[in-house]
């Protein structure tokens, strides 16, 4: 008996010794090679000081990570930090389970110079009265990738700036025998949400949903309908090719040299760098002739802090979040992943180091994002309840258009009708 006690005490001793170090848990959805980068990031933080320790765990894709943390919260075992994608912002915000980041920084006296951050990134995650709810982690924005060889084959020297130029380009590419002139991934985000933001068109009422839960969709407006109609025309004669809802297939069609132009997230840069065996570059998304384009909007995810932990642990959380937005971490993260640096000093230092001289395509996204002051009603972001499902509805209806089942006008009307039911039900659940 005595032996057992002795042994168990010895086993437990290291645990007591570690008590001094406060450990916090971080659940994230960065899989594959990005998980290695996250591990490296956490290691750097843990090595940089000896008071706190971060334990990062990958929990599958974004939906799975959110569901895991919901289940954990219900069992009172929630992590301190969880990574949630941008469309889940409304769910988290309404949930009463979160500790807003602006409050955390205030309570634990972390001084932050908010003017140092990229405003279109921050504004997506702020309350209507400009208070930050969650810490931006991985942010990207869609850009246009182009295959220089295929453009040259069609006698084209520069990528298209406007949709009118794009129309000419696609015609010439088709004449030159290129099977697929243009393709796009994430069609709701790029072809509708970002198109609306860039052209100063509200995607939804109530300031794109920021002002109130009573927002209604607005995508059945003439400009967006005409835009989708045009793409449908191109789809019919083969100039635009739909490859599926996600990022992979469209990107593969581009890197395989099948498609000449690709709309895709700037976070796809590292994959294109690895896979494309031809001369390529990137340019901003095209805009309509005669308009002054606004900033594009972001996608990606942020880190949310859960309620229900001790003061000591929150101190650790605040310190870790501060560490993540330091200049060194931001430049490193940007170079490694292609996600945007979220602070201006990181951007400036990359510029100074000549990073963008060497890789000009890396600067396209950040320039497109900062080219205008976000308009509160159109280009600061979109905040809607049940947004994941609304995007599914948009995917479904657009697929019907590409498959010649319905017209662009009908599709947009359906999206508004079905989407508004989802919004109404979300409002009903969150009164």
């Amino acid at each position: 008996m005595f032996k057992i006690i002795l042994i168990s005490t010895l086993i437990c001793l290291p645990a007591w010794a570690q008590e001094k170090v406060t450990t916090i848990n971080w659940w994230h959805a960065m899989n594959g090679s990005r998980n290695d980068i996250v591990k490296e990031m956490v290691k750097r933080y843990n090595d940089s000081q000896n008071k706190f320790k971060v334990k990062a765990s990958e929990k599958g894709n974004y939906t799975e990570t959110l569901n895991s943390s919901i289940a954990a919260f219900r069992a009172k075992k929630q992590p301190h930090l969880v990574q949630v994608f941008e469309v889940g912002t409304m769910t988290m915000m309404q949930s009463k389970v979160i500790y807003p980041v602006h409050q955390l920084f205030k309570d634990y006296k972390v001084a932050v110079d908010w003017s140092n951050y990229l405003q279109p990134v921050l504004s997506y995650y702020m309350t209507n009265d400009n208070k930050l709810l969650s810490m931006p982690f991985n942010s990207s924005t869609p850009i246009m990738y182009y295959n220089k060889n295929l453009l040259a084959k069609a006698g084209l020297k520069t990528p298209p700036k406007t949709w009118t130029e794009l129309e000419q380009h696609t015609l010439k590419l088709k004449e030159a025998g290129v099977k697929c002139s243009l393709t796009s991934s994430w069609q709701s985000w790029i072809l509708i949400e970002n198109y609306s933001a860039i052209h100063n068109i509200p995607f939804a009422s109530q300031g794109n949903g920021f002002a109130s839960l009573t927002a209604k969709l607005n995508v059945d407006n003439e400009k967006v309908v005409n835009h989708i109609e045009r793409l449908h025309r191109w789809a019919k004669d083969g100039r635009f090719s739909y490859q599926g809802r996600r990022g992979g297939p469209a990107l593969n069609a581009f890197t395989a040299g099948k498609c000449a132009l690709l709309f895709e997230s700037s976070s796809g840069l590292s994959s294109v760098e690895k896979l494309a065996k031809f001369d390529w570059s990137a340019a901003p998304l095209p805009f309509e002739e005669g308009t002054k384009p606004l900033n594009s909007i972001i996608g990606g995810a942020t880190l949310w802090v859960f309620k229900g932990h001790t003061k000591k642990e929150y101190e650790a959380v605040a310190d870790f979040l501060r560490f993540l937005s330091t200049k060194e971490m931001q430049t490193w993260w940007h170079k490694k992943t292609g996600y945007l640096p979220i602070t201006l000093d990181a951007y400036e230092s990359l510029k100074k180091d000549g990073f963008y001289k060497k890789y000009p395509y890396q600067e396209v996204a950040i320039k497109q994002l900062t080219r205008a002051t976000p308009n509160q009603a159109t280009s600061r972001g979109i905040r809607l309840g049940s947004f994941t499902q609304i995007r599914d509805v948009i995917n479904e209806e657009l697929e019907k258009v590409w498959n010649n089942n319905i017209s662009a006008k009908e599709a947009m009307a359906n999206i508004v009708k079905r989407g508004n039911i989802l919004l109404k039900n979300f409002h009903r659940r969150n009164r």
Partner: protein, 299 residues
């Protein structure tokens, strides 16, 4: 009716079924009861607050046309999967059963091959079919395109996708049916078939007048099992091949329960759908046992 068995100890039978009852209560009745309660509540995903709303969740479900569409799709899907996998299973079993007389060794090999798909997890089976029939990457996609005379594109064309998930789901279930049909066929007394043959009945007549009636308990059992399979267990296949798309073409009820509950985080609606699905399955089973069973010969 089965005869009542007699145990010396009154409590022994209860003790024997106890563990199974416990499992049933904890893993079936309890969650089902929870779903029933949840169907009348509106609650936030984190479970902090909930509110009793009578039938609001039900009426919200029937507001758009999606649910009805999904319902009709599910009926067609289940009927197709059931029919296709039963017929193929019976066909293969009949082949092996005949072969058993002549080529004993090769029929053993055939049996193993036919049973193999059952050992594959639905998600993996789905991934296999997805890659084989992907319009750009698929090995078989070009072949299918030339057979149907138009571009095969399950990513975009709802009918193609629907056809593909039916095929994949049936393929997965053929093995199961095969095993039971083979067992059923082998249990049929040879003397019956032989005497019919002597009386001049051809192979078709023998099949429809002797084999089929004697197989009816097996068929009845398999119809129930296949319907349950098509309703519930095809989730993994749909999740990997189409995720309910394109345009909702493969969004069958069980997938919709998942996507509304776990992706949409609308627990009330998801619970309502589970309750409807539960009622449907209970109803179907009652009908089958009450009416269809009467026409089945159990010997």
């Amino acid at each position: 009716m089965l005869k009542r068995s007699h145990y010396k100890n009154r409590y022994l039978p209860y003790l024997l079924v106890g563990p199974q009852l416990l499992i049933t209560v904890f893993f079936f009745f309890w969650p089902a009861g929870e779903a029933l309660v949840q169907a009348f509540l509106i609650s936030d995903p984190f479970g902090l607050q909930s509110q009793f709303v009578w039938f609001d969740n039900f009426s919200a479900l029937f507001e758009g046309s999606e649910y009805i569409n999904s319902f009709i799709r599910t009926l067609i899907f289940s009927a197709a999967v059931c029919l296709l996998s039963l017929l193929s299973g019976l066909f293969l079993a009949a082949l092996v059963n005949r072969g058993a007389k002549n080529l004993v060794r090769s029929s053993k090999l055939l049996k193993s091959i036919f049973i193999l798909p059952y050992a594959i997890a639905p998600a993996i089976a789905g991934a296999l079919w997805m890659f084989l029939f992907h319009p750009n990457l698929g090995l078989l996609a070009n072949m299918v395109s030339s057979i149907i005379g138009e571009k095969w594109n399950p990513v975009l064309d709802g009918d193609h996708a629907f056809f593909l998930v039916i095929l994949a789901s049936s393929w997965k279930q053929v093995s199961y049916n095969f095993v039971f049909f083979l067992g059923g066929l082998q249990a049929i007394p040879k003397s019956l078939l032989e005497s019919a043959a002597i009386d001049g009945a051809g192979p078709f007549r023998r099949f429809f007048h002797i084999t089929l009636p004697l197989l009816s308990p097996t068929i009845f059992f398999l119809v129930v099992m296949n319907l349950v399979y098509a309703f519930f267990d095809t989730f993994g296949i749909i999740h990997t091949i189409t995720e309910g798309g394109p345009g909702g073409a493969t969004n069958i009820l069980v997938y919709k329960v998942y996507s509304d509950g776990f992706v949409g985080l609308d627990l009330g609606s998801s619970a309502v759908q589970s309750v409807i699905l539960m009622a449907l399955t209970i109803g179907l089973t009652i009908i089958q046992f009450k009416y269809v069973e009467k026409k089945v010969h159990y010997n």
